[in-house]
Amino acid sequence: MQFTLFVPGDSWMHRLDPMSKVLLTVIGLVCTFLLPGHLAPALLLAASLVLLASAGVLRRSTAVFAGVSLIAVTFFVVQGLVYAGNQHPALAIGPVTFYREGLLLGLRLTLRLYNILASSLILILTNRPSDLVESLMRRGLPSRFGYVIIAVLQIIPTMVEASARITDAQRSRGMETEGSLWVRLRAFIPLMGPLVTSSLIATEERALALEVRGFASNRRLTFLHEESIPGYAWPVRIAALAVLALGIAGRVMLS
């Protein structure tokens, strides 16, 4: 089992090879920090959303965005109130005044946050982590590193599953877990110790099993599947690089 936000699908984005998507994500992240003002980042965000929509993962993305909306709100609130460059009041609610400069900064920060997320989600939602790792290994990443990444991702679902089983065992021995929130919270605490222990033991057993499947070998890897790079991969990569060039040019010209 892998911990993954991967949304299965067959869109053009899904069929794009992982390296191209890494490129898209990296360029998106670079542009996020490169583009000045408000309009350019907003356009970047819009473009990312279009890409996500075309991959059929917009709904999951929105869920992620909603998850961090609280942070975005704090940007507005904190900067609007106490940003050092605040001069012009924009909004007054009772005794509290929000200033224009602060609010605009809050907007920039929020756009940045959402751009980082949107660019990252392009990669995360349309890829299995193991496919990404395999792509890297085709290009020379030592298999040991690849495994470490996979192993770390496996710890989470292993723990989730183990916690369900351990909780079943606790309940079968009389520990109440159904009922009020407080009861359920309290049942969570004794879970920690065995969860960690059993995960560590499972990790050791896994390490042993992998050791004997030649994981530690230094031989050159071969691959079962041929990596399929679709025809449109290069045009996409070039388009992305062009956007980056535009961004850099724009930044240079405006400063």
Partner: protein
């Protein structure tokens, strides 16, 4: 030349004072099926792991004696190298899944990719291995959607696909139902006929007695007995050491039913033959 040669193997885990293995010696020829039996904590698992080098390379500790597998000196060769010639299958199916692959087919390919085998060869071996373990029809299923027994067969297939000369199995059927157990033993039989040496640690002595060429009985790290099942299970005093003896052998001992050579029968067929003759004699 023996595929496995163990001479006076002694081993102590770190931070322990007692020897886990104390002077174990035996050999295994190509095509032989050797069963390792004995009570828990006798050293069966330790011995299995010593045959591929996990003992001592992974566990550290103190080791003495010699272990030679497929011509390699295990104590001076890396586990990865030995594992190319000797495959080890563990008890728990779940932790043997790589977790990186999403179909049975790809899971089996995992080790092959690490070993740098060319693609056509990979495809050939994967099919062979899956068919042998009865998994070909399940090849597109996710490894996590398999039952415990199917998963264990997948673990065996994943090791087999490396085409080792030696296969070591540490209590492989403990989580399997009788049908699954039969499949594992049948597959082992096929492999031995193809020249592989197989070593299996097991509690199911009835099955071992029926199928193994030789049996190694361990208790507290020492060899209590070593030889063909008929001889080994006919020895006195095994049960006092906590060693299981096939049911028909126990019955035969009580009733004095012996084979020509003086040993007791260890399979149902042999016991039926001897018993039938004895009963016929008595009534006729």
């Amino acid at each position: 030349m023996s595929l496995i040669r163990v001479e006076n193997l002694r081993y102590r885990y770190p931070r322990q004072s007692a020897l886990a293995l104390d002077g174990v010696s035996f050999t295994v020829e190509p095509g032989e099926f050797v069963g390792i039996v004995g009570p828990n904590k006798a050293g069966k698992s330790t011995l299995c792991q010593a045959l591929v080098g996990l003992v001592p390379h992974f566990y550290k500790g103190a080791i003495g004696g010699k272990v030679e597998v497929a011509g390699l000196d295990v104590h001076t060769t890396s586990v990865g190298e030995v594992s190319r010639r000797a495959g080890l299958v563990f008890q728990s199916p779940f932790t043997q899944m790589s977790g990186a692959k999403f179909s049975v087919y790809e899971e089996v390919a995992f080790g092959l990719e690490r070993a740098g085998i060319p693609r056509d060869e990979m495809i050939r071996r994967i099919e062979w291995s899956l068919r042998l373990l009865g998994l070909w029809d399940l090849r597109d299923r996710s490894p996590f959607a398999l039952s415990g027994g199917q998963m264990q067969r997948l673990a065996i297939a994943s090791v087999l696909v490396m085409q080792p000369e030696v296969l070591i199995l540490d209590e492989p059927t403990s989580q399997l139902d009788p049908a699954g157990t039969s499949e594992v033993f049948a597959a082992v039989g096929d492999l031995c006929r193809q020249g592989m040496a197989v070593v299996m640690a097991e509690h199911k002595v009835d099955r071992i007695a029926a199928r193994a060429d030789k049996v190694l009985v361990l208790n507290r790290g020492r060899v209590l007995a070593w030889g063909p099942p008929g001889e080994v299970f006919s020895l006195d005093g095994l049960e006092e050491h906590g060693v299981a003896v096939p049911a028909v052998t126990r019955a035969a001992r009580e009733l004095g039913w012996r084979e020509q050579g003086g040993t007791y029968p260890v399979t149902v067929e042999a016991a039926a033959r001897i018993g039938g003759a004895a009963l016929g004699r008595d009534q006729g």
